[in-house]
Amino acid sequence: MIWAGAFLLIISCGGLGLYMASRIRKRPEELRACLTALTLLDTEITWGVTPLPEAFGILRERTEKPWALFFGELEERLQKGEGAYEAWNDTIAQQMKSFCLKPEDWQVIKDVGKGLGRSDRQEQHKQIELVKQQLTIIREDASEWAGKQAKMWSYLGFLGGIAGVLFLI
């Protein structure tokens, strides 16, 4: 009985650790997907002169899960006539939970909304470019940090479980 309980504790703690690790590993991936999407948005605006609702529609089709939902929501909001800045911020507030990004990442991503759709193509390009550069820096840090953290969490879960068992016995 005791051994079964101990086994269960170790497994559950280990599982928790692995789950945390996988979330941490997702962050750089999501940042990369965001960078790709921004590049695409930039191209659509600067070269395609595509209106934002359509541009977000294209992004929705070209990105993977959490971002696809994000851009889908944006497309819908803009088609209803909402302003781009509000729509961008509100969508972030609403969908933040389904991402593994940190608050400081969102702080940078929020900058995209500033002046979005309110100026000419060059201005739009500059603004997106700026955000992209900042995101690139964040992503480099993030992948290094994520490698270490993920490893730590996956060990920590099991070790914590074992420690708990030893303590209880």
Binding site: I45, V49, T50, P51, L52, P53, A55, L78, Q79, K80, G81, E82, G83, A84, A87, L116, G117, R118, S119, D120, R121, E123, Q124
Partner: protein, 366 residues
Amino acid sequence: MSLRYTIHPIHKNPVPKDIASGSLKAKKPNLQGSKDILRTLDQRKLEDSILRWLGEGIAGILRATRTVNFQDVEEIRLRIAKPLLLAGRREFFLDERGAVVPPEKGYKVRREDIFQALERMTQSSLYAAEEEMRQGFITLPGGHRVGMTGEAMLKKGEIQSLKHISALNIRLAKAIPGIGEKILANLIRRDGSLYHTLIISPPRGGKTTLLRDLIRRISEGSEILKLQGQTVGVVDERKELAGMWQGVPAYDLGCRTDVLDGCPKRIGITMLVRSMAPQVVAVDELGHTEDGEAVLDALRTGVKILSTAHASTLEEALGRPSLKELFAQGTFERVVILSRRQGPGTIEEIVDLEKFRKSGMGKVGM
């Protein structure tokens, strides 16, 4: 300058939150006794078709106003830090509760109001309207035209784009019902072909509106006049006639109409005649001498010309250097003269130029 035939699928118009969610109805009417105007369904529709393009602030004011009838409003003017103005045959300055007040007490338009309006009008994509803004205005679905001024960005002496937009003038499109048919009866021969026609009026006299109406009627034909539909080619240099926005025409110009959008008349007329074989060529605002030359060229192929020019009277038009050559050649056969005497689109007279030349008088019909 891009040459393009534009036929594309129609966009959905954005519906602002308050209309979509129905909160518009929930708003309490702000009754002001006997001054209150009971709004008919038509007025409501017109109102909604305008308010959806404005930000919450301004739309709220216009919705709250009970003393101004939208049917009388021709323009809504937003200027940064200046009072909100509705202009028509009379002018109304409004304060934040929608009451008519003297100018100094009016609601001062904020930069944000203009931005919000632009956002609604361009689907939050100002950069996509650059081409249109170069002309100084955009046309909204439904035909309302929005003129704008700001800081012009120049490149090689030509306007590249407008920055820091500081004033908007929303000109409301209103159909002048029924006049087109009455006039058209005087502009067609027994065999159904059109006389070469020039429409003249002072600014804001309804030239473009009438021209648009005539184009549609000629294109679709008329049962009352026993007129068969004819192929019409439109060179829409100033993008006013079809009101193309991102390839979507704001106005219905009929089922036999081809529009060459944003093309200079001089090139456009020749190109249309060659490529689309129209029976009637319609152009707006003959102003340059070279426009006249293009028209003369086109005449040789047997097309009929339907056009407009700025002038208050026939004498003034006859004296225009740019039109002189056309008149000297006896190009035009009918001149329609409009004025604003009883509001825009008042028909002053229709002149048969051939009779006019012989006797100095040539009024036809009306």
